[in-house]
């Protein structure tokens, strides 16, 4: 029976797809637990090749006491997708009162399909993911237009 590895730390990072380098933020965050930076950078860059460069990916790294590690790459945040779809740089300053931009239902569906590939969201139905995307849009001041 294999021994359960002792977890030393959990590190959460945001790195651009294909852009992991040993410089900050990756360097200090992983270096302080003596993890092999280069192996992580190469592995991460190889796994994010299918995304456009400069897409901020969130990564959760579990570092073990024997200096080995495992990591999970998650799809970018819904708020980032919505900003790209709506063509705006930042959400509305007063959500609910000032509308920043609009997205169509088709955008929401496409975002939900990408989100369903996320390891943590695979068990959710497309409908429930779409509902949460609409809720996020509302909190950012982005209106969802119900036509294609």
């Amino acid at each position: 029976m294999a021994a359960v590895k002792q977890v030393a730390a959990t590190i959460r990072l945001t790195v651009n797809a294909g852009g992991a380098r040993p410089a900050p933020p990756v360097g200090p965050a992983l270096g302080q637990y003596r993890l092999n930076l280069m192996a992580f950078c190469k592995d991460f860059n190889a796994r994010t090749q299918k995304y456009k460069p400069d897409t901020p990916m969130s990564v959760k790294i579990t570092a073990y006491k024997d200096n080995s590690f495992e990591f999970i790459v998650k799809t970018p945040a819904v708020s980032w997708f919505l900003k790209k779809a709506a063509g705006i740089e930042s959400g509305s300053s007063r959500p609910g009162h000032i509308e920043a931009s609009t997205v169509t239902v088709k955008h929401v569906y496409e975002i939900a399909k990408i989100k369903q590939t996320d390891p943590y969201l695979q068990y959710l139905s497309l409908e429930s993911i779409s509902k949460s995307i609409v809720a996020t849009a509302k909190s950012m001041g982005i209106k969802v237009v119900y036509e294609l």
Partner: protein
């Protein structure tokens, strides 16, 4: 300082003073790389930026900037600082330690990441720890981010009752680099070939030892892709002696140096990262490799201190179709985009090795390169793959 000063930029004017030559140079260079510390004796329009003033502007054309320390003899003005200080300023980061309750740790870390933190680390706690309900999160921010605002937003978004206390400090990068260096050990790639970090002594002094200090570049020799390529060179029968090798994406230069030690006659290393080139130069010196045995190119320009070389010698384009062995250990997308370019550097019948790809990415590479290569074989290690093929000899393919 003489009153008549030669202009430091690539024009050949003679200026009436050093100030004028600097002013001429500043006007011409559009990109600046560091700030200068000046005092009251300097006019306001010079209190800005300075770039590398040496090398006749050629390094500036290549996009490499190394600010030099520069003192004026008379007066107390001095321009910015040497490159190590500049690098510190670029790579410094702000680290923040913040306390929070154990049950909100996950949500709080995610919220902090959303609102501007570059990374959030949580040390794992033993379950039977008795020191209360609180846990520390270490955050890293880039310089210039508003840490306080970010924390306030995160606290609001998860509904914490009060802002927890936190401690900010600005850190320099070198302490984490040292930590990582400690974990490198000598590796035996195959019988008689070792890769030894610079700060350790070789376990077998008689074997072929490659001394390596990768710094910030890729290629310690531990990664499966590097090992696959090194095994190709040593055991794969690629090198029979006297070949010219192209290392595309050289990183720390490990593959090029290994090729030389295993019998190649000359190596050319190419990379787009200036860090990689400087790391490769240092490794060449550690392994006592002469500049004429291994040439380094940043992009398509040669990196050299020699001044007597012609334009043809300085450009990589002139070397197309001249290499017996090509190794490209990069990533899937660059391999596919640069397929034609990489293959064009080989002679007909040259052996081309490609790595840096995951096993699931193999079919794409095979499909892309089947136009140019025949007799492709695949080797795999730990989920990573390496493809070797021979360049087709058809006359329609250059």
């Amino acid at each position: 300082m003489s009153a008549a000063a030669r202009c430091w930029c690539c024009c050949s004017h003679r200026h009436s003073s050093l100030f004028r030559s600097l002013h001429c140079h500043l006007q011409k260079t559009q990109v600046f790389s560091s700030s200068i510390i000046s005092n009251r004796s300097v006019k306001p329009n010079f209190r800005s930026y300075v770039t590398n003033l040496s090398d006749g502007g050629r390094q500036r054309q290549m996009g490499i900037y190394h600010p030099v320390q520069w003192k004026k003899k008379r007066g107390r003005m001095w321009f910015s600082t040497n490159s190590s200080v500049m690098r510190e300023r670029e790579d410094s980061y702000v680290s923040v330690e913040i306390r929070c309750q154990k049950h909100v740790v996950d949500a709080f870390s995610e919220a902090l990441l959303c609102f501007g933190a570059s990374s959030a680390s949580v040390e794992s706690i033993q379950c039977d720890d008795d020191d209360g309900d609180e846990i520390f999160i270490s955050l890293i921010y880039t310089i210039g981010k508003d840490v306080h605002q970010s924390i306030i937003h995160a606290v609001d978004s998860i509904g914490l009752k009060s802002t927890p206390s936190y401690k900010i400090s600005v850190n320099k990068p070198y302490n984490w680099l040292k930590n990582v260096e400690e974990s490198f050990h000598p590796i035996e790639v195959s019988n008689g070939l070792w890769i030894v970090p610079q700060w350790r002594s070789p376990p077998d002094p008689e074997a072929t030892n490659i001394i390596l200090n990768p710094g910030m570049a890729f290629g310690t020799g531990e990664h499966p892709t590097t090992l696959l390529c090194l095994l190709l060179l040593s055991d794969g029968g690629l090198l029979k002696g006297g070949e010219s090798v192209l290392d595309y994406g050289t990183g720390s230069g490990v593959l090029g140096i290994a090729a030389l030690k295993l019998g190649a006659s000359s190596v050319v290393g190419v990379d787009i990262d200036p860090e990689a080139i400087s790391s490769a130069q240092k490794n060449m010196m550690s392994n006592k490799i002469q500049a004429n045995q291994m040439e380094l190119y940043l992009g398509s320009r040669r990196v050299t201190t020699a001044h007597f070389l012609s334009e043809d010698d300085l450009s990589l384009i002139g070397k197309k179709g001249k290499f017996d062995v090509i190794l490209a250990n990069i990533l899937l997308k660059p391999l596919i985009e640069l397929a034609e370019e990489i293959v064009s550097y080989g002679k007909p019948g040259a052996i081309i090795g490609l790595s840096g790809i995951l096993t699931e990415q193999l079919p794409q590479i095979q499909q892309c390169y089947s136009r140019y290569l025949e007799r492709m074989t695949v080797s795999q290690m730990d989920g990573w793959a390496c493809i070797v093929g021979t360049k087709k000899k058809l006359s329609c393919l250059v």
